[in-house]
């Protein structure tokens, strides 16, 4: 049998046949690894998770025309959106604002894409249904109260061209109220219809069909799951490549989001560091106890002719093997822990960070190695004669 084989036989026998003792040490290391990998996973995933949660509070970026005389169009918006990572983009909602008359009262209409509005404004409460068919509208609560509109009511919506001096209505279409919008905010002052219905109302449908270009868009709201830095990088790219579009951050949303995320991340980082330190102390104490109770064995090995380095190598071998096994257990249990926390707190799954596998294992090995080294080094100073005499 080679010396190397005997070395591994000795360290594996120590781990396998001293199970109860080693399980305590392994438990300490595995718990440390679990908390470390779990907290790092959460720390890493907090911006994504919290960002997604924050997106429930509305858009965090808007597009407005880049220059005074330019107009936004769906084509320009699509071009600008192409510079945003599709994985981060939650929704894009174009808006065109016009004044119409309902029951002879002037009312602001926001023509939009309802699919996008659902994504960027998940906080909208709808009594009834979202418009899904042609000539269906969504009416803000205030407008509905003022004009006496209810879900299911059909009303004539008349478009008045603002540039027409005669101020005579030029088109009128009967539209059905599919839902009433409640937000508690300024959104309740508008009537919402699809961009296609607006084009019909303004008589631009034929032009759009002929030219293949969309009508005028006044602004677009975007909901993007990303931190302030990433959003700024998107803005820079869009400003450079699509000057007709001016992207702007919705400051009140992004600033508070960034502040909350930074604080939360700092908190998780602090907890991770404190737990890591406590874990190191716990592992060090356990390994110290494990080594100390084997002083007699160390004395025996010295009496049999083992050099100090040889004894250190054997005990470190055991410690590193324990660190490896504890680290692997820590990765598995840590991910399960992070997944549980993510599901319970954020109600969503967490992605498995591959880099965490080597990081957790290496940290576990290093911590265990350090925890073993000093007590083992100190134990090699024992006088074999005294130890073997039981003194």
């Amino acid at each position: 049998m080679s010396k190397r084989k005997m070395f591994f036989k000795m360290i594996t026998a120590s781990l396998m046949r001293r199970r109860s003792r080693m399980l305590v040490a392994l438990l300490a290391i595995a718990v440390g690894g679990t908390i470390l990998s779990g907290l790092i996973t959460i720390y890493r995933d907090v911006p994504r998770q919290m960002g997604a949660q924050m997106r429930n509070y509305g858009a965090n970026m808007i597009f407005v025309p880049g220059e005074a005389d330019t107009k936004l169009s769906l084509e320009l918006i699509d071009k600008a959106v192409s510079f945003i990572d599709p994985g981060n983009l939650i929704g894009v909602t174009p808006y065109r604002y016009e004044t119409v008359r309902i029951h002879e009262q002037p009312v602001m209409v926001a023509a939009t894409n309802f699919e996008g509005a659902r994504a960027t404004s998940p906080y909208w409460l709808i009594e009834g249904e979202w418009p899904s068919a042609k000539d269906e509208i969504l009416v803000g609560q205030n407008i509905a109260d003022t004009l006496g509109l209810k879900v299911g009511t059909t009303t004539a919506v008349v478009y008045t061209d603002a540039e027409d001096d005669s101020n005579t209505p030029n088109f009128g279409i009967d539209m059905k109220v599919s839902g009433i919008l409640e937000t508690g905010g300024s959104e309740e002052e508008y009537v919402y219809m699809s961009l296609e219905d607006m084009a019909d109302l303004t008589g631009e449908s034929a032009d759009i069909e002929r030219t293949g270009e969309s009508g005028r868009i006044d602004l677009a709201e975007l909901s993007i799951s990303a931190s302030g830095d990433v959003l700024s990088s998107y803005i820079e790219k869009i400003e450079t490549n699509v000057p007709e579009v001016s992207p702007r951050l919705v400051k009140r949303v992004t600033a508070s989001e960034t502040a909350v995320l930074t604080k939360l991340q700092s908190l998780v980082l602090l907890v991770t560091i404190v737990v890591l330190l406590l874990t190191m102390i716990c592992v060090a104490t356990t390994m110290n106890a494990v080594v100390t109770e084997r002083r007699k064995e160390i004395g025996l090995r010295k009496a049999l002719g083992a050099s100090d380095n040889s004894i250190v190598a054997e005990f470190m071998g055991e410690g590193l093997l324990l660190g490896l096994i504890g680290g692997i257990l820590g990765v598995i249990l840590g991910f399960a822990f992070a997944q549980y926390v993510s599901r319970e707190v954020f109600s969503s799954s967490i992605s498995f960070p591959a880099l965490l596998v080597p990081v957790t294992i290496i940290v576990s090995i290093l911590v265990t190695g350090l925890a073993c080294y000093f007590p083992v080094r100190s134990a090699t100073e024992v006088d074999p004669a005294l130890v073997l005499k039981g003194e």
Binding site: K296, A303, G305, D383
Partner: protein
């Protein structure tokens, strides 16, 4: 030239002289019992001969080489290469089997050889218990594993400290029979004991009292 020579050995702890001017030689193949009551200096002498301690004064020559001034590291090497130790408490590694315990001594000395370790266990009548853990062996069996471990590297001196101190009479006899066999094969045996029965079977008895040799004589009944 004797295998082991002690010239004017003293070991002093403060005001206490554990050994006081000890002089004797041990020849190759001799079986010597070092006897004396508790506190007579037997263990101190065992530690000095076993290279686990150094004398305060005097010279210890092993194979003609002065080992009394060696460093700890050099003493470890001498212990590993030239001395086989047998302990009263057996001191087996409790998570290694009998054969693995024997191989540990080989591991530090040269290359572990399972076959050779099994032969050493066979020599002490324990081959069939080779793959048992110490906790599965009786005291006598553990002591025999300890003897096999002491012999595995063919040491120049086998040094036994109260080897029968923890054994019943039957196992004591087995161990003494093994010593007889080793002596016949030419092994140099130094047995530290306070048990007169163990001293009676040795070839030569050195008696210590208060750190001094009070008697050093051949055993007239030896071999009878």
């Amino acid at each position: 030239m004797s295998l082991l020579e002690l010239h004017g050995i003293s070991k002093i702890y403060g005001d206490l002289k554990a050994l006081d001017n000890i002089n004797f030689n041990i020849d190759n193949g001799e079986w010597v019992a070092i006897m004396g009551p508790s506190g007579s200096g037997k263990s101190t002498m065992m530690n000095i001969i076993g290279c686990m301690d150094k004398p305060t004064l005097g010279q210890v020559l092993l194979d003609g080489k002065d080992i009394s001034k060696l460093t700890k590291k050099e003493l470890t090497e001498i212990r590993r290469d030239k001395i086989g130790l047998i302990f009263q408490q057996f001191h087996l590694v409790n998570y290694l089997t009998a054969v693995e315990n024997v191989m540990v001594a080989q591991y530090y000395h040269s290359i572990p050889d399972e076959q050779e370790a099994l032969e050493a266990l066979e020599r002490v009548g324990l081959k069939e218990r080779a793959y048992h853990l110490p906790s599965q062996l009786s005291g006598g069996e553990q002591q025999r594993v300890c003897i096999a471990r002491a012999l595995i590297n063919h040491p120049e001196i086998v040094l036994a400290d109260e080897p029968t101190g923890n054994l019943d009479e039957a196992n004591e006899n087995i161990v003494l029979d093994i010593f007889q066999q080793l002596h016949k094969e030419g092994t140099t045996l130094i047995v530290v004991t306070h048990d007169p029965e163990v001293g009676d079977v040795a070839q030569r008895v050195i008696t210590l009292e208060h750190g001094k040799i009070t008697r050093d004589a051949l055993n007239e009944s030896f071999g009878k």
